[in-house]
Symmetry: C2
Subunit: 163 residues, 2 copies
DNA sequence: TATTGTTATACTCTATAACTATA
DNA sequence: TATAGTTATAGAGTATAACAATA
């Protein structure tokens, strides 16, 4: 098997050699990603409180604004969530006047999502707040590093999603 | 190993230019991190099914093996979770014979976690499986890139945790 | 037969408060 | 007063199965 002593001299040891005795968990990319994800998501959620929308609302709103008339099923597919989980989110958003369900001509089963004027305004404001949030949250990384990080995440995502 | 040469004009555009019209969400590091985290965690959980332990059990087991006699509060602190959430996990682990709660001399409030022989064996086996899982899951990245990714995640974590 | 939206349901994970026994 | 472990509880978030209308 693997797993005898620590021999490599990579970024891991360098990055963490200062403070604590370097736990095994901290050597795992997945574990660190979990911790960072929790932190970034909390900050993200905080940023969206100004517009009183949840992270899930933001992503659905983004879809409906960027892709006019997109159907619920397609939103679910692209967000990687279940159709059934989308219903209550869209109910809330419709109640808040951010968007409306409208019939699709040619397929009477489907519901198309059309953002309202307020929906677009909220999205625009929230989007710029979110970009500021990312800028600030990842400010410990250089611009080049941020692009590198984003590119690596995308590649991993593709390899894991697409095969 | 794939994907050489993408340091000219932003890794983001290059990485995603092939298939879809590049949604706004896909430009966000946080969103991509969420998607990758979900994928890697599912794979992680699958790997651990061989030893019939959950991700949470694995992290607690890791703590107890790496830091003999660590207390529950300290585990919660290092894992970034609530003490109350730890109780049922440790109950399960004690029931499975992976570890035992033992009194701490000098502080009768505290409970120290001591892994059993089976706990150590399970951990050793699981740990090597987890390293294989990481090797495989992130195989789209080069060794150098993986170290870079890990280092960046650690730096972001530190900056956000306020260390 | 398959798909869209929907409902109902259950399960995981987490956050919170309160309690006890210690410190 | 503060801390360690515990209990109880509620809230997200998500997954699953089933159903009616439509394709």
């Amino acid at each position: 098997m693997t797993g005898d002593g620590e021999n490599s001299c990579g970024a891991a040891e360098l990055a963490a050699s200062a403070a604590e005795p370097m736990e095994k968990l901290d050597q795992l990319i997945g574990y660190n990603m979990k911790r960072v994800y929790i932190l970034v998501q909390n900050d993200f959620r905080q940023v969206l409180t100004d517009d009183d929308i949840s992270p899930r609302m933001f992503s659905v709103l983004s879809m409906s604004v960027e892709s006019h008339g997109i159907t619920q099923s397609e939103v679910a597919r692209q967000l990687g969530i279940e159709r059934s989980g989308l219903v209550s989110i869209i109910d809330d958003m419709e109640r808040r006047g951010l968007l409306r369900r409208m019939p699709v001509e040619g397929d009477r089963r489907a519901q198309a999502l059309h953002p309202s004027e307020e929906g677009r305004a909220v999205y625009k404001r929230a989007l710029s707040a979110v970009f500021e949030h990312e800028e600030r949250f990842f400010s410990v990384l250089s611009q080049q590093e941020r692009e590198l990080l984003l590119g690596m995440l995308m590649r991993v995502r593709r390899s894991a999603e697409g095969g």
